[in-house]
Symmetry: C2
Subunit: 74 residues, 2 copies
């Protein structure tokens, strides 16, 4: 399983549920908008500290961000 | 919550359950023994790809490695 993609899909879904743009999420996490975009595409090997920051902003645990919720994810 | 420490505690517990030394776990994951030691102490900001490698070697999902199982963890 591609966990970078699992993370990316979950970040995108939860960001939209939270009614945040990539830029807003990035600002709250003190990260760059293009970095959030790359995470959502599964293109970045994110560090645990950044996973924790994003999870806290989205109101979930880091474990939730790494859980594959949908077999058909695209 | 300190998720670097949660990860470290879980890696150490599962490594011992799997009857592996730090060196053996490191070799299987193609990482360095001292890096595994630092992870177990909660001293390293591990990347998701390395979390995945360690999880697969220990027979669990990355989400399990990031789940706090014990309130009293030390």
């Amino acid at each position: 399983m591609n966990y970078l993609q699992v993370l990316g899909n979950n970040v995108r879904s939860l960001r939209i549920i939270n009614n945040l743009t990539q830029e807003q999420l990035a600002d709250i996490c003190d990260l760059h908008r293009t970095y959030i975009g790359a995470i959502e595409r599964g293109d970045r090997n994110v560090s645990l500290n950044n996973i924790v920051k994003i999870a806290e902003t989205l109101g979930v645990t880091p474990a939730i961000l790494l859980t594959d919720n949908e077999e058909v994810s695209k």
